[in-house]
């Protein structure tokens, strides 16, 4: 299998911050709005470099979404920044009507998603956001795997016409995607080829999938690992090409098993090529306080959980 050395440990939100600054330098249509979380979202550098194009809106997320929609009228490319919970559930109707239905070119950038937010607990650990955003017609959903990819994705959003939901997180996490690996919205990355089982993962769990693939390799099982950084539009060809070889799938996500990556993949499989699928996801519950690693373990999203799911999937072939 292909191995990926850990280059560093960095938070994906810092990748967003660097990407935002960079894309701000390249394209003066880019503006940024933040609802009192500039430090948490690592938007300080953009705010300092481009004070005229940065809008601190205070703790008023609904208004931020509407303002961002309005700023597209006149040709701006607004990036909104707040936690994933406040980027989706709190403002769902604003995103639905003023952004998605109105077809506005707003980039909704959401940090602190999922369990790995950690100690703040379930009020902030949204596990339903991928599903919420996936359901909106015309909304792209991007969940990059590490710091490097979050930076790339942040910059790529500016060239994507239409609304996008970009989901990233809080903890320091292995950086393993080479900075020069080509990134394209909607184009999955086969990180490692295999023949026995396909592991399709997004976000922080891509690293867990790679760890699981290494463990499976020791057990004589050759896993294919796909980084599905774009949940919508889903790269159906990549899914079908892989299951054509392996005949079974494990999906891995830091999200409720309902509505997320797993269901998106299942829809492709049931429509085109039915094969056994196992879900590594939160089993329809809220999270709780704890460290990221403790939480991933307790809620069944750790490396051994991926290994076990792969063995179950293979058995069902």
């Amino acid at each position: 299998m292909t191995t990926y050395p850990v280059l560093d440990k960095k938070d994906t939100r810092s990748g967003f911050g660097e990407g935002l600054l960079e894309v701000g330098k390249q394209d003066d249509r880019v503006v940024a709005l933040c609802a009192d979380l500039t430090g948490s979202l690592k938007m300080d550098a953009f705010a300092k470099e481009f004070p005229d194009r940065f809008f601190q809106v205070g703790i008023a997320e609904a208004n931020m979404m509407g303002m961002a929609a309005g700023m597209t009228i006149g040709g701006k490319i607004p990036y909104t920044g707040t936690f994933a919970n406040f980027s989706t559930g709190r403002v769902y109707d604003q995103v639905r009507q003023s952004i998605a239905y109105s077809g506005k070119n707003v980039k909704i950038c959401a940090s602190h998603a999922g369990l790995t937010l950690g100690e703040d607990g379930a009020t902030h650990q949204i596990l339903e956001d991928i599903g919420l955003m996936r359901m909106l017609p015309g909304m792209a959903v991007v969940v990059p795997a590490d710091f490097n990819q979050t930076k790339q994705a942040t910059m790529a959003l500016a060239d994507h016409e239409g609304p996008v939901y970009l989901r990233f997180g809080r903890p320091k996490w292995p950086v393993f995607i080479p900075a020069d690996m080509p990134f394209e919205i909607g184009k999955a990355q086969v990180l490692s080829e295999g023949t026995d089982v396909t592991l399709i993962a997004c976000g922080h769990l891509v690293w867990k999938a790679l760890e699981a693939a290494a463990e499976l390799e020791k057990q004589g099982i050759h896993a294919e690992v796909i980084n599905m950084h774009t949940i919508k539009p889903l790269d159906e060809e990549a899914v079908l090409a892989s299951v054509g070889k392996t005949g079974c799938v494990v999906t891995c996500e830091e999200h409720n098993r309902y509505g997320g990556l797993g269901e998106a993949v299942a829809q492709v499989l049931t429509t085109h090529h039915g094969v056994p699928q196992e879900f590594v996801a939160v089993n329809d519950s809220f999270g709780e306080s704890g460290t990221p690693e403790e939480l991933l373990k307790k809620y069944g999203l750790d490396t051994p959980d991926v290994v076990a799911a792969a063995r179950r999937a293979i058995k069902r072939k």
């Binding site: 208004n63 303002m67 700023m71 109707d93």
Partner: protein, 291 residues
Amino acid sequence: MTAPSTSTASSTSVKELQSIASQVRRDIVRMVHACQSGHPGGSLGCTDYMVALYFHVLRHDPENFTMDGIGEDLFFLSNGHISPLFYSVLAHSGYFPLEELNTFRRLNSRLQGHPTTHEGLPGVRIASGSLGQGLSVAVGAALAKKLNGDPSLIYSLHGDGELQEGQVWEAAMAAAGKKVDNLISTVDWNGRQIDGDVDDVMPLGDLHAKWTAFGWEVMEMEGNDMASVLQGLEQAKGLTGKGKPVMILMRTEMGKGVDFMEGSHKWHGVAPNDAQLEAALKQLPETLGDY
């Protein structure tokens, strides 16, 4: 011979605008009657304002509609349920053919029940209908104008019942906080909403004091008198560019122009039957020709 005085010029204009308003009111009741659904009450109440805005105040280019509207004044309708009025005014302005008013609320129409950009109707720049969202959009568009160095103005219209939505006050704070002084917002202060009088449903308190406290330049206007509307909008324009957003609290009568629709909230979202249509049209002279 001296040049015509301002009052002469505007009185001519007032008469023309009143004539357009009469036709627009006919369009509203005919559209709502034709599909037996829609919102005539607020539409009739805001007709004078919208006619004054689109036919006298806005600097806009209906034949060459662009979403960005660079160099044009832009209008945002937040209380999207008064779509019959919006559509009639847009059509008479030249944004799309008048005949299209026949398709209001029908299958495959660009004239959806509530306005949307989704079907590509020229003149509409944001979807509205779910209340309370339009002021935020207007603030964003006004800030984009400033970033672009575009001196044009942003106008927006809101229901008074709509002010019960918290997002409106978030936007009010932002507009003042960001010194959005190229924005003239208007509240349709008719005192009524679907369930009854606003004071009974959820009182708004001292609106003038509230908007003032939020940092806006606030003025009041009689919204069903064309001369007052013209004067009010002119006054509002004079208040722009001074560091504060401008709010016009506009007194109107829901259902204005059709006697049996006035004085009640009951015609907020009810269509007239055949006899009521006939009675309404008798009160509204056909001035420009029915669509």
